[in-house]
């Protein structure tokens, strides 16, 4: 019961915020709505026992990525997207309908009886605490962990190179 309350408490704003991200005219509001989505999602992660990941979500995603978006929005001085003028062109109309179909199929697959063999019991050692995650990272998943640092390095170099001024004055 408690879980249900909290679930709906976090999910419904999340959905509303997501819709705001998509349909809001002003970009800054979209970015801020995404922030709300991130927070709600972090809450859901905690409910699902992924404590470390929830923290990461807030720190990295909400704290770094979204800030980056904000800066870019401010830098480029984006105008409000004129949604009213946005005529429902064929492609976009078909896209929306297709997405609706996709949703239909996903719901059908997910609510099928065969998928309900998933138990929801908690087990010790499967909690997403820092200690557990850290142990897993440095033993089983050490290779991806090291490789991801290369990825970050590549991203840094890429970002720096791309943002360099073209003409060297």
């Amino acid at each position: 019961m408690t879980e249900a309350v909290f679930f709906y408490l976090f999910t419904i704003p999340m959905m509303a915020a997501a819709l705001s991200v998509v349909f809001n005219r002003r970009p800054i509001y979209s970015v801020l709505s995404l922030l709300v989505v991130m927070f709600c999602l972090a809450s859901l992660f905690i409910m699902l026992g992924a404590y470390f990941v929830a923290a990461l979500q807030v720190l990295l995603y909400a704290g770094a990525v979204l800030v980056l978006f904000l800066f870019v929005v401010m830098l480029l001085n984006l105008e409000p997207d004129n949604l009213a003028r946005m005529r429902l062109s064929t492609l976009r109309g078909i896209g929306t309908i297709a997405a609706a179909f996709l949703l239909f199929h996903l719901v059908r697959i997910l609510t099928a009886p065969a998928a309900s063999g998933i138990a929801a019991t908690a087990r010790p050692g499967a909690d997403g605490t820092v200690e557990n995650i850290g142990r897993a990272l440095f033993t089983t998943y050490v290779l991806p962990f090291e490789l991801i640092s290369f990825l970050i390095l590549a991203a840094i170099i890429g970002a720096v190179t791309l943002s360099k001024q073209q003409s060297d004055r």
Partner: protein, 110 residues
Amino acid sequence: MPLPSASAMLTIGPTHYLLASAILFVIGLIGIMTRRNVIMILLCIEIMFNAANLAFITYARAWHDLGGQITVFFIIIVAAAEVTVGLAIAVLLSRQLKTLNADEIRLLKW
């Protein structure tokens, strides 16, 4: 498909989280289809990433396997890297083509 009963709605299981993830994913998808600004499209891609994260975490919980959460860890990092480079490219685009309207960026057609 019959409407879910009251007990089904109140007893939260993995299916609920997965449905939430699905709805979030589709919202992000609609955003990609519909938005005209390139930056906003990138933003909607982030929603889709988050939906996937939710699914991973749900299954990690359901199957008592921490691999799901590790995966989400990596996804977040990769998403950050991708946003970095993506936004840099978007800034460059706005400088070169003087526009960020997705309808006008048609360089993929020769």
